[in-house]
C-alpha cells in the first residue's frame, strides 16, 4: 500500500459524511406532530383563528418561494406579484368555466408555470439589480393587460363564483386545509429540490456563476427551473388568497407590497435557509397582529428591520440560531464528523 492510499483510506475511515444533523430525527418528529396538530385545528379552535392562520400559511408559501428564487437561485425578483395575480385570476377564470375553485388552485399553479416560460426569456436578459426592476415592470404589464379584459372584471376586479353552495364552516375549514397544504408543500418542495442534483447546481451557480458553468452546470436551465417552480408556488398562493377572500382586485393582487412582504420575511428570517422563511413569516405575522391598531406603522417597522437585517445580520435570525446551536431542521448540505475513536484502531 502506497503512502497516499494509506492516507486516503485513513481519512475515509476517520470521517462520517451524512445528510442528517444530530438533531434532525428528533426535529422531524416534532415537525410531524406540529403538522398533525395544525391539520386538526379546525376541529379544535374557532373559525376566527383558522381564518387568520390562512394568511400566515400564504406568507410562508410566498416567502419560501422567494427564498428558493433568491436565496438558492440567486434570482432577486421584485416581480413575483405577477404570478400571485395570474394565479388569483386563473382561479376566477376556471371557476367561471365551472371548475371547482379548490381544484382550480392547482390549475392556477400550472397556469403560472406556463406563463413563466416566455416571461423568463425576457427577464433573464437582465442581471442583478436590473433583473429585479425588470421583473417588476413585467408584473405591471400583466396587471395592465388583465384590467383590459372585461370578462375578468376590468379595473374593479371580480368575485369568485362556485363556492356559494358550500356551508360557511366547511368552506372555512377547506380553505384552511388547502392553505396549510400549500405552506407544507412549498417548504417540502424546496427541501426535496435542494437535496438533489438541482440543489447542488443552484448553490454552485449562486456562489460563483462562471465557475459553476465551467464544471458543466447548465446555469440557464437550473435558473429557469427554479423560476418556474417559484412561479407555480406563487400562483397557487394567489389562488388560495382568492378562495379565502372570495374576490380579487387587480391593484391589490398585483401590488409590489407582496414582494416587500416576501423579501423582508426572508431577509429577517434568514436567506438561503429553508427554515428562514418559516421563522421570518412567524415574526412578521406576530408584528402585524400586534401593531394592527396602528395603521401602516408595522410596514415602517418591517422596512426598518429589513434594512437593519440586511446591514448587520445578513444571515437573518435563523443564521444566529444555527450559529449558536447548530440546529438544522431541513439539512440540505452534508455534515462531516470525525470519528476520533476509530482513528487509533487503524
Amino acid at each position: 500500500m502506497t503512502l497516499s492510499e494509506t492516507l486516503t483510506s485513513r481519512a475515509a475511515a476517520a470521517v462520517d459524511v451524512s445528510r442528517a444533523a444530530r438533531s434532525s430525527k428528533l426535529s422531524a418528529l416534532v415537525m410531524l406532530a406540529a403538522a398533525v396538530t395544525l391539520g386538526a385545528l379546525p376541529f379544535l379552535v374557532f373559525a376566527k383563528v383558522t381564518d387568520t392562520l390562512v394568511n400566515l400559511f400564504v406568507l410562508i408559501a410566498l416567502a419560501s418561494m422567494w427564498n428558493l428564487l433568491a436565496g438558492f437561485g440567486g434570482l432577486v425578483s421584485v416581480g413575483q406579484q405577477a404570478y400571485i395575480g395570474i394565479g388569483a385570476y386563473s382561479v376566477i377564470a376556471f371557476a367561471d368555466q365551472g371548475v371547482q375553485p379548490y381544484l382550480a388552485v392547482l390549475l392556477a399553479a400550472v397556469t403560472c408555470a406556463v406563463f413563466a416560460v416566455p416571461t423568463s426569456w425576457l427577464a433573464f436578459r437582465l442581471r442583478g439589480d436590473y433583473f429585479a426592476v425588470g421583473t417588476w415592470v413585467i408584473a405591471e404589464v400583466y396587471r395592465l393587460l388583465v384590467v383590459r379584459v372585461d370578462s375578468l372584471g376590468g379595473a374593479s376586479g371580480k368575485s369568485l363564483s362556485g363556492l356559494s353552495g358550500i356551508d360557511q364552516t366547511l368552506r372555512g375549514a377547506l380553505t384552511y386545509w388547502i392553505a396549510l397544504g400549500l405552506a407544507l408543500a412549498s417548504v417540502a418542495a424546496g427541501y426535496l429540490l435542494l437535496r438533489g442534483r438541482l440543489g447542488l447546481s443552484l448553490m454552485a451557480v449562486r456562489d460563483e456563476e462562471t465557475a459553476a458553468s465551467s464544471v458543466g452546470i447548465d446555469v440557464r436551465r437550473a435558473k429557469r427551473l427554479v423560476y418556474l417552480v417559484s412561479a407555480a408556488g406563487c400562483g397557487a398562493a394567489g389562488g388560495v388568497i382568492t378562495v379565502s377572500s372570495l374576490s380579487v382586485n387587480p391593484d391589490a393582487i398585483f401590488s409590489v407590497q407582496w414582494s416587500a412582504y416576501m423579501i423582508f420575511i426572508v431577509v429577517i428570517g434568514g436567506i438561503g435557509f429553508i427554515e428562514g422563511p418559516l421563522l421570518g413569516a412567524v415574526v412578521f405575522f406576530a408584528l402585524q397582529q400586534l401593531l394592527s391598531d396602528y395603521g401602516s406603522w408595522y410596514l415602517v417597522l418591517l422596512g426598518a428591520v429589513g434594512m437593519a437585517a440586511a446591514l448587520w445580520l445578513p444571515r437573518g435570525l435563523w443564521g444566529v440560531v444555527r450559529d449558536r446551536t447548530g440546529l438544522s431542521l431541513f439539512p440540505v448540505g452534508y455534515f462531516v464528523r470525525t470519528r476520533a475513536a476509530d482513528v487509533d484502531s487503524h
Binding site: W121, L126, D129, V133, V137, R148, G306, M307, A310, L311
Partner: protein, 288 residues
C-alpha cells in the same frame, strides 16, 4: 395633427423623465446601486414642498431653491451613513436597503399626509400655454421643464468631463480601487454622486408635483419610468438617458392618443421591446 401634438407633448414630458432618470443612472453608473427608493424620494420632495408652502406661506420659487440643496445634503448623508455600509455587504444588501427605505418612506408619508391625492399649485405659469400652430399648444411649464432638464443634464455632463471631481467620479466608477490609489476618496466621491442624484430627484419631484397630482403610493410607478428611460437609452450614458426619456414620453403620449388606458402599457411595451431586441439600449454606453 393630433398625433403631431402628442409627439410634441411626449417629447416635452420625455425631458422630465430624463431629468428624473439621471439620478438613477448616475448612482448605478458610479456605485452600481439601483436605488429602489428613487421614486419615493421624488414624492417626499413633492410633499416637503407642499408642507412648506401650506405651513409657512413661502413663495413657490423660494421653496424650490430650499428643497434642492436640502436634498443634495440628504443624499450625501444617506450615502455616507446608509449605503456605504451596504456596499460592503454585496449587491443584495444595497437592493434590500433601498427597497426598505422605499417601504419606510411610503408608509411614513401615508401616516403623516394620509392617502389623499394632492397637487402643488404652480399658479398661472403652470396652467398657461401658447399656441405653436392651430393644433399644437405648448404649456409654459412643460417647456420650462424640458429646458431645465436639458440644462441640468448638460451641467452634469460638463461637470463629469471638465472638472477634477467629475473626472475622479468617472475614475471611481471605472475602477474604485485604482481611483483610491491615485488619491480619490471613494466614500466622499460616492457621497457627491448621491448628492447630485438626490438634487435631480428633488427637481424632478417638484416638476412632477406641479404637472400632475400625487399621493404617497405613487413613488414605485415613478421609479419604473426612470428605470425604463435608463434601460431604453442605454446604461451609463447621460445622452442615452435623455433619448430614453424622450422615447418613453413620446410612446406614452402617442399610446394615450390611441386610447387613454394605453398610456402606461405602451411605455412598458416599448421597454420590453428594447429589452428583447436591443438589450444594450439605443445608445450603448457601458455594459451592465
Amino acid at each position: 395633427m393630433d398625433f403631431l401634438n402628442a409627439l410634441v407633448q411626449g417629447l416635452l414630458i420625455g425631458g422630465l423623465y430624463a431629468l428624473f432618470a439621471t439620478g438613477l443612472s448616475l448612482m448605478f453608473g458610479v456605485m452600481r446601486i439601483v436605488n429602489l427608493a428613487h421614486g419615493d424620494l421624488a414624492v417626499v420632495a413633492s410633499f416637503l414642498a407642499l408642507a412648506l408652502i401650506s405651513g409657512t406661506g413661502l413663495p413657490l420659487w423660494f421653496v424650490l431653491v430650499v428643497t434642492v440643496p436640502l436634498f443634495a445634503l440628504l443624499g450625501y448623508l444617506t450615502q455616507r451613513v446608509l449605503l456605504q455600509k451596504s456596499l460592503k455587504s454585496g449587491p443584495l444588501a444595497t437592493l434590500l436597503v433601498t427597497f426598505g427605505l422605499s417601504i419606510v418612506l411610503q408608509n411614513v408619508l401615508l401616516e403623516v399626509f394620509s392617502a389623499d391625492t394632492r397637487t402643488l399649485d404652480g399658479g398661472s405659469f403652470a396652467t398657461g400655454s401658447f399656441k405653436l400652430t392651430d393644433s399644437i399648444s405648448i404649456g409654459y411649464l412643460s417647456l420650462a421643464t424640458f429646458v431645465l432638464a436639458v440644462g441640468v443634464l448638460t451641467g452634469i455632463q460638463l461637470f463629469l468631463s471638465r472638472t477634477g471631481l467629475g473626472r475622479m467620479l468617472r475614475a471611481s466608477s471605472d475602477d474604485r480601487e485604482t481611483a483610491n490609489l491615485v488619491g480619490g476618496d471613494s466614500r466622499h466621491i460616492y457621497g457627491i454622486a448621491t448628492a447630485i442624484a438626490f438634487a435631480t430627484v428633488a427637481i424632478a419631484g417638484l416638476m412632477f408635483a406641479m404637472r400632475s397630482s400625487f399621493d404617497p403610493s405613487i413613488g414605485p410607478s415613478r421609479l419604473i419610468f426612470a428605470f425604463e428611460a435608463v434601460v431604453i437609452g442605454g446604461l451609463g450614458s447621460l445622452w442615452g438617458t435623455l433619448l430614453g426619456g424622450i422615447v418613453l414620453g413620446v410612446t406614452q403620449s402617442v399610446g394615450a392618443q390611441i386610447d387613454p388606458a394605453l398610456t402606461l402599457l405602451a411605455g412598458h411595451l416599448i421597454f420590453l421591446a428594447v429589452l428583447a431586441f436591443r438589450p444594450q439600449g439605443l445608445i450603448a454606453g457601458r455594459k451592465a
